[in-house]
Symmetry: C2
Subunit: 338 residues, 2 copies
């Protein structure tokens, strides 16, 4: 099928669908559960609670420095499971493909998914393929839905119900890379040092933090809407406030430069390999040291703290000594960033 | 939001997204798990095995006689779980919406999903919303991924591993309704008696059959590719054959007429409320009687049997005394049927 293009018949459920499924999806995703090729995958679960999350990926362009829509679809959902405090185990993957999309590009995307799933130790166990007429979708959209198992003792991590004043806010590295990588790829900007997306699966990094401390109280990946949206969402209905020290938030010079040039605030730019973590103050340095050992946490930093003052609000102390209130993103900054 | 249109900002992850989620999705889908509004839903599972299935829905038109894309997205996934022998419990729902899509139409779709989920006893527990620029998708695409629990004793139903010669083939009613309903809605065909899609959740019907018999050996919903594709897929790698008696297969006169007019074979036309069930011969009549008690099974019929002859092939005895071999659908018959 290498040099072929996707036809409407590849989504028919008939012969062409079977060929596509065998020669592209099953070939790379192969595992004992998927290979049964029943519509519903039967999964053995060693827990009384599971964590379920879904995301559709519509990123444009499909290929970008640091990844492609397939890698993103695996990492994004693995991370959503991991930040809930759960262990990611299984993924479904559903494709909506535009008629005429090159099978070669699809194969590259599927290979990236398979590779990333293997690295993450998750299995892609069931899927779906739809094809729509040319012009009725833009190249390819992928939905991944993830299943993980979660321990009773970690159920509070998703909601942050145990957060209290004094807790520290940690970010696992520099912000804004993904958004600016997409922006430069989309507009084919010629920049001397290309910005690379931070797209990565963070479950091992998260597991290492949970291993060294029982006082990790909240984790959320800072994707659409960026760091600012995670922090302002977190405080919005709570009885505490958050202070962020702008100077402590790591931003690459290249990303900062591009943001200034194009009028973006890095706090609002999407990431695909960054999370905000709230840790009890006594354990914060220990967790930070642990994160820094990992390639996806080497630039981690404590960037602020939870305070009893100004409940419901997050305030940034700016580099020049002023303050500003962080709010959720209004309007749209960068459509189709993920 | 009633008379508004979807903006790119509704997919930003920021303020507009929050408004949309609150005023449309949470308003209708509301349940204790979803209302937590964490990215990953935590689900209590009372089983050691779960069944996981995913489907993206791209049906065109979005509204059709007998349903809309939302009802279809719930029923389709509930049915995929149910035909695996599992009990459907939870759904995720992920929306890809075209900029400019009327919020009123979205609300109608979401209401249909909520209503169908309530009837089916399943909870929609997590979701995702993406918005793409006008012209980059066609109105709205919905992915639903379903989770159910499955008993050890029913794990063979998805693959049909216990099927043997002599078993009977049952269909739960007339075929081709969904495909022809979409076809007439899409082309705005003026026909005296409009054909209505059979789109329905079949899990209760399936549960009733499983209740009266331990020898239900296989169930598969006959969606894309129709009855013919299910039957030919089932035998394709097996050591048995299947004989189907064409005269026994129920087809509405209106559907048959439209198929003849447009050159379709009802055996290949998509259904959204029909399954093929294989039942041990001693229990077939009992199961049939049970199915007939239900509104979605009242036209059920025994349409054929599993035979030791011609392994790997399914043969139809035609009304005029001839025979033909059923094969999987080649090419595409009706794109975007689901």
């Amino acid at each position: 099928m290498k040099n072929e293009k996707i036809l409407l018949g590849h989504g028919s459920g008939g012969k062409l669908s079977h060929t596509l499924i065998q020669e592209v999806f099953v070939k790379y995703f192969s595992n004992t559960i998927l290979d049964n090729q029943t519509d519903a995958a039967v999964l053995d679960i060693d827990s009384k609670s599971i964590s379920l999350t879904t995301d559709s990926f519509v990123v444009d362009p499909v290929f970008f420095p640091g990844g492609n829509i397939g890698k993103l679809a695996v990492c994004g959902t693995v991370n959503d499971i991991a930040v809930s405090g759960a262990k990611p185990l299984y993924l479904s993957s559903a494709f909506i493909i535009e008629e005429g999309f090159p099978v070669e590009d699809l194969t590259e995307i599927v290979k990236a998914m398979a590779e990333e799933a293997k690295k993450a130790g998750v299995k892609i166990v069931t899927g779906d393929t739809k094809v729509v007429d040319k012009g009725k979708c833009d190249k390819i959209f992928i939905n991944t839905t993830g299943v993980g198992t979660i321990d009773e003792s970690r159920k509070h991590i998703g909601s942050g119900s145990k957060i209290e004043p004094g807790d520290k806010i940690i970010i696992n590295g520099n912000i804004g890379d993904h958004g600016m990588a997409i922006m430069s790829a989309r507009n084919d900007l010629k920049i001397s040092a290309p910005i690379v997306s931070d797209c990565a699966c963070l479950h091992n990094l998260i597991a290492s933090a949970l291993n060294v401390s029982d006082s990790v109280k909240f984790i959320r990946d800072a994707t659409r809407g960026g760091l600012a949206t995670v922090v302002s969402e977190l405080v919005s209905t709570k009885k505490f406030g958050i202070n962020i020290d702008e100077d402590k938030v790591p931003v690459l010079d290249s990303v900062r430069g591009m943001c200034e040039l194009l009028g973006f605030d890095p706090f609002y730019v999407a990431n695909e390999g960054k999370f905000v973590m709230v840790v009890g103050k006594d354990d914060a340095e220990k967790v930070l040291a642990e994160l820094k050992k990992n390639e996806f946490g080497k630039n981690a930093a404590i960037i602020g703290e939870v305070v009893a003052e100004h409940p419901g609000k997050s305030i940034v102390k700016t580099g020049i000594g002023g303050t500003r209130i962080l709010d959720m993103l209004s309007g749209e900054q960068l459509p189709r960033i993920c």
